[in-house]
Amino acid sequence: MISAPERHARKPSRRYALDLKTLGPALALLLLCVIGFLLNPAFVSEGNLTNLLTRSAFIGIIAVGATFVITAGGIDLSVGSMAAAISGVMIIVMNNVVETIGTGVATVLLGCGLAIVLGIGAGWINGALTTKGKIEAFIVTLGTMGIYRSLVTYFADGGTLALNFDIRGTYRPVYYDSFLGLPFPVWVFIGVAICGWLLLSRTAFGRYCTAIGSNESVARYSAINVDAVKTLTYVIQGLCVSFATIIYVPRLGSASASTGVLWELEAIAAVIIGGTVLKGGYGRIGGTILGALILTTIGNILNFTDMISNYLNGTMQGLIIIVAVLLQRSDWRLGKSRKT
């Protein structure tokens, strides 16, 4: 009975703005590719594009997990160290079972299974400490970051843990072989991305993550088991780290204290460049994927030119990240008058 006023043409503009925001990361990536091509046409060679995709798989897969954690209002700084520790334990165990079960597929499967169990366990520890222990996620994961990093150093005696040479032969194809022209890691990446996307935007669980990140007490009052959902986001993060590790280990067959250093920052950066909000309540897997691609492409482009001093790589990287995010602010052109 309240007269529905004729709809103002305000909605279309909102939709449009939203699209711009969604398109932002894609545009930034496109721009980077154009720059890459202009710098060196070899940038668009099939080989390089394949390298680029394969490389972004690690950060990308981890960032998919980070999207869940961040959407639910948490943060996980431990992923890089976790990856290193899982690789380390995988390698040690696989090397040790050579005598009993040989160097075949069984050993590799054992290693992968172990990685998954460890990832889930490590994620669960982070989650339980945050929810049951009621410690800020930042502190928990800063702590576990230090712990995992030093454990891998300890296992490797400060050096490098190397996978048995024969197992490496069995395991190698997981990184180096292709299917339908795309390397396996890319397929894993695609798989994880699709699952992540479905989970976040097509299931009740995804909505719970968003609700918790948006307003924890509203979520709680809606009879959502907040602690369980939050813990589960860390478990998903751990699982993603496992997947990343499983495709990382066959690449060079080794793990050391420098494995995965700063992956946490890269993953979080990918998530945020993709448009997910750091304080939680809004997450976009699609954006995260683009964010990961953007980050990898920046590194790749910098290797393609010697115009800038090597020392300034970090400067370029920083500038490009800031500019890429600045560009996707759909409202910056509307300009001055807005104060809000």
Binding site: A42, N48, T153, D157, G159, T160, R251, L252, S258, N303
Partner: protein, 294 residues
């Protein structure tokens, strides 16, 4: 009876070479403490220069050390802190990276970074001809990296060998792999790679094999003397035919000499500069330590 306390301070191992050094230090500690019951060696490692300065303070304030063996993280920032240790009356042995002010240390034991670059360049010149192309993967931007790189470039100058580009691969396998992948996409013709370090070299080899460009006389020169690489040289690997030694065992040498200062009659002070030996299939065996992690 008062023990002779000797502090040993070095950077936290974050790459294989440093791990090797750590291993040699720990082995030397056990050996020396078993040999001389009145000697106590205290091993401390630190993750950055500032932490190392703190560790030095703690060695003096808490352990009241009689001598210090230090492998400085960086020369400049640790000069003053080491000087302070010196002022407490301790004997000072500096390893690998010299301090920026002369005369602080009683004993200096070091490898030879410029020599490593020069030896590598000489080998390149021996195998490549005029117009051949190489790429360089450098370490972490530091003085050491600069010394090696500058000496290499100095030596290679005028040989007609083209250095296509050089990028930092941070003494890290993953970075070595990625940088080499990009070099391979970018340059269709590369004849050899100077990886400067064995960890980088391993990444480079993986990238070469992936791209199928490991044939045609392609070779990689690393550095340091990692045991896998030396093993490969012994087995006649084509891709990494030689290595240039930068021995992580130098810390043990320094510890031995420092203990000797308290235990032997002969004079110990002075400078020991270890050479950057070229390891070839012929001499490889004598540089191979099976138990070392490096």
């Amino acid at each position: 009876q008062e023990k002779i306390k000797i502090g040993v301070s070095y950077p936290t191992p974050t790459h294989a070479w440093a791990a090797g050094m750590n291993w040699h230090a720990e082995v030397a500690e056990k050996r020396l403490e078993a040999l001389y019951p009145d000697v106590d060696l205290i091993l401390v490692n630190s993750p950055d220069p500032s932490a190392q300065a703190s560790a030095l303070e703690d060695l003096v304030a808490v352990h009241q050390i009689d001598a210090l063996v230090v492998l400085p993280f960086e020369s400049e920032p640790l000069t003053d802190p080491v000087l302070n240790v010196k002022k407490s009356g301790a004997w000072i042995t500096v390893v690998d990276r010299g301090l920026s002010q002369p005369g602080i240390e009683d004993l200096y034991v070091a490898g030879n970074n410029p020599e490593l670059g020069r030896v590598s360049a000489k080998y390149m010149k021996g195998r490549l001809k005029d117009g051949d192309n190489i790429v360089i993967l450098r370490g972490i931007p530091t003085v050491i990296d600069n010394e090696r790189f500058d000496a290499f470039m100095e030596e290679i100058k005028g040989s007609g060998i083209n250095v296509l580009d050089h990028k930092h691969a941070n003494w890290n396998r993953d970075d070595g792999f990625q940088v080499m992948q990009d070099f391979l996409s970018r340059f269709p013709d590369i004849d050899a790679v100077w990886a400067q370090d064995d960890d980088i070299a391993i990444g480079v080899v993986a990238a070469l094999k992936q791209a199928g460009r490991d044939g045609n006389g392609m070779f990689v020169v690393g550095g340091a003397g990692m045991k896998q690489i030396i093993k490969g040289i012994m087995d006649g690997d084509d891709l990494i035919p030689i290595d240039v030694l930068y021995p992580p065992s130098m810390i043990a040498t320094a510890m031995d000499a420092t203990v000797a200062h308290f235990k032997s009659n002969g004079p110990i002070a002075g400078r020991y500069i270890l050479g950057a030996t070229l390891i070839t299939p012929e001499n490889a065996e004598s540089y191979y330590f099976a138990e070392s992690p490096f």
